[in-house]
Each structure stands twice: as C-alpha cells, then as structure tokens.
C-alpha cells in the first residue's frame, strides 16, 4: 500500500518536473547545436555543446550586447532605488506615526490591483512631453513607482520589536542612524527578497519598454529578443541563441538566491 503510493507520488513528480523544465531545456539544446537555417525535422534533444549560434548572434546582431547593457542598467537602477527608498518608506509606514499615514498607505496599496496597462497612455504622453520617449529614461522613471516593495517592507518591519529603536535613540542615535544600525540589519532577509523581485520584474518587463522605445539601440533585452524573429527570419540558430542567452542571468540569479525568492513569495502574500 505505502509502496504503491510512493511509486505513484514519485512518478507523478518526475513526469511533472520533466514537463516543467522541458521548454527551457529544449531552447538551450537548440541554442547549443549549430543550426544555420531551418531546424531538423527530428527535434534536437541532446545539445552538441557548440557555441556557433551564440557567436553568430553576437557578431551579426548589431545591438545584442547593447540590449544586455540596457536591461542591466534598468534592472540594477530600479533595484537600487527600491532597496533604499522602499526600506525607508516601509519603515515609516510600519513604525512611525504621522498625519495622513493611513490615507497615503491605503492609496499606495490600492493601486496594487490596478492593471498597469491603465497607465500606459498617460505615461506615453508624459514621456513625450518630457522629451524622454525613445530613451532608457522612459523605462526607468515609471519603474521607480512600483509600490509592491513598500508593502513588502512594511509587512516585514512591522514584525520587528520596537524596543531596539528606542534603545538606539536613548543611546543618542539619529533618526537616520536608527534606520541604518537597527532596521536595516534586522531586515536583511526582506531586503534580499525585495532586491531579487525588483531585479527579475524589471529584467522581464516587456510591454511598456515595447511601447516606450522604438530605436533598436535603446531596446531592452526582452524587446530585442522579440525583434530577432523579424530580423533573422530564416536563421533559427541566432533566434534560439538570443532567447537562451537572455535567460541565463535570471537562471543564475535564481539558483544563487532561490531561498530568498521562496521566502519573499510568502512575505508578499496578502494576509
């Protein structure tokens, strides 16, 4: 009875894992096998471990490295911004009392449910009148207004005991000092989750960058990869390589920090 049950459990789990990982595996298998035109009719299931496609991608696609740089810039800048200012705002909303606190917090959190698409037309008009449309700034500025992190940090900081802050103040710590020496060290797990989520979200963001930017050299990686299909219609090797290379940073990032990913997921769930 127990033996049959665990055989069933394990077969279901193994089959599911194979299904879960197959699409990405197949993308990489194709990317690492030299293909210059149409892929073979019998699918490539074992990669040849050759970098021909990747080298051709980097030499013939004029802007690919630029797209990587753009995506890194956007994701790192957004991450830095949110780590610093969401921690400060999350702390203020969690621990400090001040007029309008609840009104402002409710206004922030209620927009979590608003589909981002509602903001696109006005954002487009704002970016046009600021003269930043078609540049990385049109992607960066809206990225600074994502509110999820403030909510996440408030949830976490609320659970910290208040005595430590008071003790630090009595010892002559300034308000900034309280944040630096008490709140930040205690919040490291939440800050790590926040950093990872912000990075991944902005790295993967697609629709707004697609709207905001038209010149190929200003594309982010996702927009650029989507454009490869139009540019190299018959050279599938390049297209496969473009998709595979674009997902490597995120995969490495995930493998390094997966603990924080999974913790952050639980922290961010509305109670």
């Amino acid at each position: 009875m127990t033996v049959t049950r665990s055989i069933v459990t394990w077969s279901v789990l193994i089959v599911t894992t194979v299904i879960a990982l197959f699409p990405m595996y197949w993308l990489f298998a194709n990317a690492l096998t030299p293909i210059t035109a149409t892929p073979p009719l019998t699918p490539i299931l074992v990669p040849a471990w050759k970098l021909d496609n990747v080298i051709r991608l980097l030499t013939t696609s004029k802007h690919y490295t630029r797209w990587v740089v753009n995506s890194l810039t956007v994701s790192l800048a957004a991450t830095l911004w949110h780590v610093v200012f969401d921690t400060l705002a999350g702390y203020a909303f969690a621990k400090r009392r001040f007029p309008l606190r609840n009104v402002l917090f409710v206004a922030l959190v209620s927009t979590l449910m608003v589909p981002i698409h509602v903001t696109f037309i006005p954002l487009y008009l704002i970016s046009r009148s600021l003269g930043i449309i078609d540049s990385i700034w049109a992607i960066l500025l809206p990225a600074s207004s994502q509110v999820f992190g403030i909510f996440l940090m408030r949830q976490f900081i609320q659970t910290l005991p208040g005595e430590l802050e008071d003790a630090a103040r009595i010892d002559g710590c300034s308000e900034i000092g309280v944040v630096r020496h008490v709140i930040v060290p205690l919040s490291m797990p939440a800050i790590a989750s926040l950093a990872i989520f912000t990075f991944v979200r902005n790295w993967n963001d697609f629709l707004w960058p697609l709207i905001a930017v038209n010149r190929p050299q200003e594309f982010t990686l996702t927009v650029g990869v989507a454009s490869l299909q139009g540019e190299f219609m018959t050279d599938w090797g390049i297209i496969f390589a473009g998709g595979a290379v674009a997902s490597i940073p995120i995969i490495i990032f995930f493998l390094l920090f997966q603990r924080y990913f999974l913790d952050g997921l639980r922290l961010g769930a509305l109670k």
Partner: protein
C-alpha cells in the same frame, strides 16, 4: 510659526522617509491612473490635446463597435483563457503541494526550486519557446504526433485552435507560486489536528479533505485572485506566439488596448478599454473574495 516648527521636528523625518516613494508614485502611477480615466471620456488628439467627447461615452461605445466588435470577441477569448488557466493552476498547484508535503525537507526544496525555475524566466522567452514547440514544420508537438502517425497540426496558424494551443501552453506551465504558497500553508497547520483525526481512524484522503483543504482556504483565495488578474492581463505569451494575431481568434483585452493605443493611435479608445479591464478585474476580485472568504483561525 512655532507650531509649524514643532510639526516639522515631530514629523519631518517621517515625511522625508516617504517623500521619494510618494513623489514617484504620484507622478508615474497615481496621476496616470486618474488621467487615463479622463482621457477615456475625451476626444484625444496627439497634436491638439483633448476635449470632452460628445456624447461623453463615445470612446466606450467605439471600443465595442469599432472594427466589427472585435473587443467583445477579445473579452470572450480572455475569459476562456482565464477559466482554463486559473482552474488548472489551482488544481495542479494543490495536487503537487500535497504530493511533496510528506517528503523529506530537502526533497521538497528541490522540487519547489525545479518548479519555480521556469517561472522566473520571462514569459516572453517562455512563450517564444512554446512557439517553437508548436512550429508546424519542425516543432516538438508535431514530432510527437508524427511518432504516433497523426497528421501534423497547424497549432498557431489555424484560427480554430490557435487560442486553444496558447491556453494549453499556459496550462502546461507549472503554477510555481501556487506550489510554494500551498506548501507553506500546509506546513503551517498544527499537527495536533492530524493526530486527533488519526485517533478517530481517519484515512489520509479524509484528513486532506476535512482538515487540509478548509485550513488552506485563505491561500486558495489569494492564489485564485492573483492568477485571475494575471490571466486577464495576458499579453506576452500571445504577442510572441502569434505576433500579428490569427484574425480575431487570438485577440485578448490587453492586445486590443495595445493595438488601439499604439498601432491605431486612438488614445481615447485605448484608455476606455484599459478602464474597462480595471473595472472587470476589480469586480472579479470582489466576487472571489465574497465567495471564497472564510475566517480561519487556529
């Protein structure tokens, strides 16, 4: 004067801490949402700006009647996609979390990570990979059919099945967030409940049905809401699998918002469609909260 100074000394730091966030939020989220509502009732022209539409609901009307009522089809397509995707995601997530729950801690962590890995990869690249799997000529799906002697299928170019193919690709993606959150919720149930049930001679299935399921209801509710919202907003997967759409059959609400705003440059109609998406999401979330809410305390 002294009042102002006292106020500043008392609350100055608080406002300084929230100022950067509040300012960017006001400029790039709050103001755009409000402005979008205004544009949706305006006749908006890129060169001359906006004036109120006549009648005031003109854009909403045009959204429905324009292009032969394609928006109505899009809503239908989105709902079909949502119903199948969300149901499968919740059921599969629940099943997988229940299966890994009794296993050793390290094994559990391994499966959670394996399921989660595809979920961090951009949906654009995942969608692109599915487009290759569905390629009529050399795709993996038709290869499998050939093995069992079935004629190749035009998965993405046949308008009758394109939406089905795209939906199937979403259903076959492991709902990683659901597995992780269900698994965490199950881990949080006190073991006394199960011990008491053991004394009463309950079978594992009975324990799952009468203890586990009711106690993880808040998680089920949360996941249903977030998956519904995500499905309502489906775009990348469709954009990359059928770049210009397969006629009407693969248009969804967000592809319509995108095309009317940034291909046809009919900003008013695009804003009206986005506002309707907003209202639909709000309404669905509200209903789900009402139906699934429970006050579980333990």
């Amino acid at each position: 004067m002294t009042d102002a100074r006292r106020f500043l000394r008392e609350h100055g730091w608080s406002y300084a801490f929230i100022a950067p966030s509040i300012i960017t939020f006001a400029c790039f989220t709050f103001a755009p949402v409000v402005w979008s509502a205004i544009i949706s009732v305006e006749k908006y022209n890129l060169r001359t700006g906006g004036t109120f539409a006549d009648p005031i609901w003109m854009n909403y009307q045009k959204a429905f009647t324009g292009l032969g009522g394609i928006f109505v089809t899009s809503i239908g397509n989105t709902l079909t996609y949502t119903v199948f995707t969300v149901t499968t995601n919740i059921v599969v997530g629940l099943a997988l979390a229940s299966l890994i729950q009794p296993l050793h801690r390290h094994v559990r962590t391994f499966f959670r990570a394996a399921f989660y890995l595809p979920a961090v990869t951009s949906s654009l690249i995942v969608g692109m990979t599915w487009a290759y799997i569905y390629n009529a000529q050399w795709g993996f799906a038709n290869y499998l059919l050939r093995l069992i002697g079935v004629e190749p299928v035009r998965w993405l170019s046949n308008p009758d099945i394109a939406l089905g193919s795209i939906t199937a690709s979403a259903m076959l993606t492991i709902p990683a967030t659901a597995v992780v959150l269900f698994s965490a919720a199950m881990g949080g149930i006190p073991t006394e409940f199960y011990e008491a049930a053991d004394l009463d001679g309950a079978s594992p299935v009975q324990k799952w049905w009468w203890i586990t399921l009711p106690l993880i209801r808040p998680t089920t509710l949360y996941l249903t809401v977030i998956y519904t919202i995500a499905s309502f907003e489906v775009f990348e997967r469709i954009y990359v699998m059928v770049p210009s759409g397969v006629g009407r059959s693969t248009q969804t609400i967000v592809t319509q918002i995108y095309y009317s705003g940034f291909k046809d440059f009919d900003l008013g109609v695009s804003a009206a469609q986005a506002m309707m998406l907003f209202v639909m999401i709000g309404a669905v979330a509200l209903v789900q909260f009402r139906v699934l809410r429970s006050n579980v305390e333990y």
